[in-house]
């Protein structure tokens, strides 16, 4: 099972982040088993709801151990490639952080401000985080898209998205 994927991006050393992944997987497996222990098996139900989670949780722990072993032996993950992916540069955590912040802000505000507002901010904010410098244009595009999708869902599909502060205006 020793992978010999060519480590093109990372230097030849142990991929420490994989230990972190192994730890998280082991914890998830453990939690799955503990959670399943709390379930009741009904009378006349020979199998019950526990067996499947036991199997899944136990497999997860075994896999986590195997991953840790493979990592120690120098197994390196080969990140996914794609049209716009440049694996030769290190991960740009600043951009990812900005995007995550904007997405979380949308979750917190969408019911208060309404989709037509937060959707527009979401689009403009993400474009800004990804390096766009045409902020005004992005804002206009975002607000138009958000309002258009709000109307599309409301009128076209009968799905009322939150109007928020624009209740009555839209």
């Amino acid at each position: 099972m020793a992978d010999t994927a060519a480590p093109r991006t990372e230097p030849v050393e142990v991929d420490r982040a994989q230990y972190g992944l192994a730890a998280v997987l082991a914890l998830v497996g453990l939690w799955t088993i503990i959670d399943a222990r709390g379930l009741n098996v009904g009378f006349g139900d020979p199998i019950g709801p526990r067996v499947f989670p036991y199997v899944v949780g136990a497999s997860m722990i075994v896999l986590a151990v195997l991953l840790a072993v493979a990592t120690a032996r120098g197994d390196v993950a080969q990140g996914e490639e794609g049209e716009d992916v440049d694996l030769t540069s290190p991960a740009d955590w600043v951009t990812v952080g900005k995007l995550a912040g904007i997405l979380v802000l949308n979750v917190l505000l969408v019911n208060v401000l309404g989709w037509a507002v937060t959707g527009g901010l979401l689009f403009a904010g993400c474009a800004w985080a990804l390096g766009s410098r045409t902020l005004v244009r992005d804002l206009v595009v975002g607000v138009v898209m958000a309002a258009a999708t709000w109307y599309f869902f409301y009128v076209g599909l009968d799905v009322p998205l939150a109007p928020g502060i624009l209740d009555g205006v839209l």
């Binding site: 799955t32 959670d35 979380v104 959707g119 993400c126 985080a129 799905v159």
Partner: protein, 505 residues
């Protein structure tokens, strides 16, 4: 001939002006989204899923038929005009297609891909129409133990045989199975893995999982590694082919179709293997094998036909057994479930009109695709120049919108971000997506069948093995696990599922 009548009935209900319009919209949207860099067919279907919320089942299926083939075709356009493929099934198309494009033959590459896709898709869909009813009739009598074994078989094939790392494949599968566990246990009504969160009791909406992992995860992963220097896009005129191109293309189309369909229909998952085999076959058979690697049209025609034929073949297990074998099929299955339609052996008997309309719309969508794509190719090519910040901002926008629209709840959007993080991590650690998403969908089905089988045997483990078919499938699983390992010991890694090749050597 029964099949033909039913299919004609399907055409009759699909060919109303309104339904044709839905199909055309689906094809256009599917191609539009599929052409965009970074969006594969599974993500295209997942992102467009919310559009169908207000529609009747029939209309939404028609829309999806268009989106599905449109997304598939859009992906091949991207891989021909940019030099990196979006998804693994397009790798082979990209090799020769991009070389052709660089030699100024982009128009011919797009044309042979489009026409090959059309032919493969049409033949494939017709084969689906002829095979599915028979298989469904047989499948009705398959008992729970055998069904469990078949599901296990498809998961093992997808996880262990495809993909480069078995360990990572199984990790993906285990993550998927864990996600599938969340929610109320179906027979006892007890909450599992919800952590006391009430919104999780109904289970996690598969739309949220799919959009989170495919769209948010992908966009974040790309954002972390965004290529700052734009790729060159090769300009393209209106696609056409000379007489010579036709004569070099038609055999590869048919051979690609013959290779692609069975692989799509078997629970072997995906178009990687048949496209690869088709490429190798065409290189062997071509009288100009020296041209391969420098833009041989056969190397585009064959794999592209194989790709689309396997995309059609995937409907056989989906409709007859309720078993998705590709990521896109998993998302389609989820879409059907939102309408209370459960694909499987009984669907053919219970709602035949729906199935036949779907098959007819697949054929119509395929035809519309050819009619729309050839003239519009220069326009699609322009989409590849869309500025990346706005493109990925748009993907994040529509992904958030989609998750929010499911229940109009901010909780779903938060959940979406959690799965976006999972999708990011999975890409960072090279864990394949297919076993993960199939685990989410097939896991609960497997548990149901397992408990059904063991209930009958009163808990004795022999209840899983008491059908001849089940034992046969377990033997296949064993073969699938052992044969590739032995083969790779003998002559390097060969990512082939159990095929007749294993009997030869």
């Amino acid at each position: 001939m029964d099949t033909l009548t039913l299919l004609l009935d399907g055409f009759a209900s699909a060919l109303t002006p309104q339904n044709l319009a839905f199909c055309a919209v689906g094809v256009l949207l599917g191609t539009f989204v599929g052409v965009l860099p970074g969006i594969g067919p599974a993500m295209a279907v997942a992102l467009l899923l919310p559009l169908t919320f207000g529609l009747e089942p029939t209309q939404s299926f028609i829309l999806f038929a268009g989106i599905y083939y449109g997304g598939m075709y859009g992906g091949s356009t991207t891989s021909i005009l940019l030099n990196t493929p979006g998804e693994s099934a397009s790798v082979m198309t990209a090799i020769e297609g991009n070389k052709m494009a660089k030699k100024g033959r982009a128009a011919q590459a797009l044309a042979t891909a489009a026409i090959g896709s059309f032919i493969a898709g049409t033949i494939g869909t017709l084969l689906v129409a002829f095979f599915t009813p028979g298989l469904a009739r047989v499948a009705v009598n398959i008992g729970a133990p055998s069904f469990f074994a078949i599901m296990l078989f498809s998961l093992v094939l997808v996880t262990a045989v495809l993909g480069s790392s078995k360990l990572r494949g199984f990790i993906g599968l285990a993550i998927g199975l864990t996600i599938g566990l969340v929610g109320l246990d179906l027979s006892t009504g007890q909450a599992r893995l919800t952590g006391g969160v009430l919104q999780l009791a109904d289970g996690i909406d598969i739309v949220v999982v799919a959009v989170g992992i495919f769209a948010i995860g992908e966009a974040m992963w790309i954002a972390a590694h965004l290529r700052r220097a734009p790729l060159d896009v090769i300009p393209v005129g209106r696609p056409f082919m000379s007489r010579e191109d036709w004569s070099r293309s038609w055999r590869p189309w048919l051979r690609g179709t013959a290779l692609g369909f069975p692989f799509g229909a078997l629970p072997a998952g995906g178009a990687e293997t048949p496209t690869f085999m088709s490429y190798v076959l065409e290189r062997k058979l071509s009288r100009r094998s020296d041209e391969f690697g420098h833009g041989a049209i056969e190397g585009v025609a064959g794999p592209e036909a194989a790709n689309n034929a396997s995309a059609a073949g995937m409907f056989v297990p989906l409709l007859a057994l309720g078993l998705p074998v590709t990521a896109t099929a998993a998302v389609l299955l989820a879409a059907m479930r939102t309408y209370g339609i459960v694909p499987g052996p009984t669907l053919m008997a219970d709602q035949p009109d729906l199935v036949w309309t779907l098959l007819a719309s697949l054929l119509i969508g395929n035809t519309l695709l050819l009619a729309i794509n050839l003239p519009l190719a220069p326009l699609w090519a322009k989409l590849l120049r869309i500025p990346r910040p706005q493109l990925y901002a748009g993907i994040l926008f529509f992904a958030s919108l989609g998750a929010y629209a499911v229940n109009q709840s901010a909780f779903d959007v938060a959940l979406l971000l959690v799965f976006g993080a999972v999708g990011f991590a999975v890409r960072r650690f090279g864990i394949p997506l297919l076993p993960l998403i199939l685990g989410v969908i097939i896991g609960p089905l497997m548990e149901t069948k397992m408990r059904e089988a063991l209930d009958l045997s009163n808990g004795a483990i022999s209840g899983l093995f008491n059908e001849p078919l089940a034992i046969f499938v377990y033997l296949l699983i064993l073969l699938a696990l052992v044969v590739p390992t032995v083969l790779s010991r003998v002559r390097g890694p060969v990512p082939h599922p159990v095929s007749n090749e294993s009997e030869v050597s």
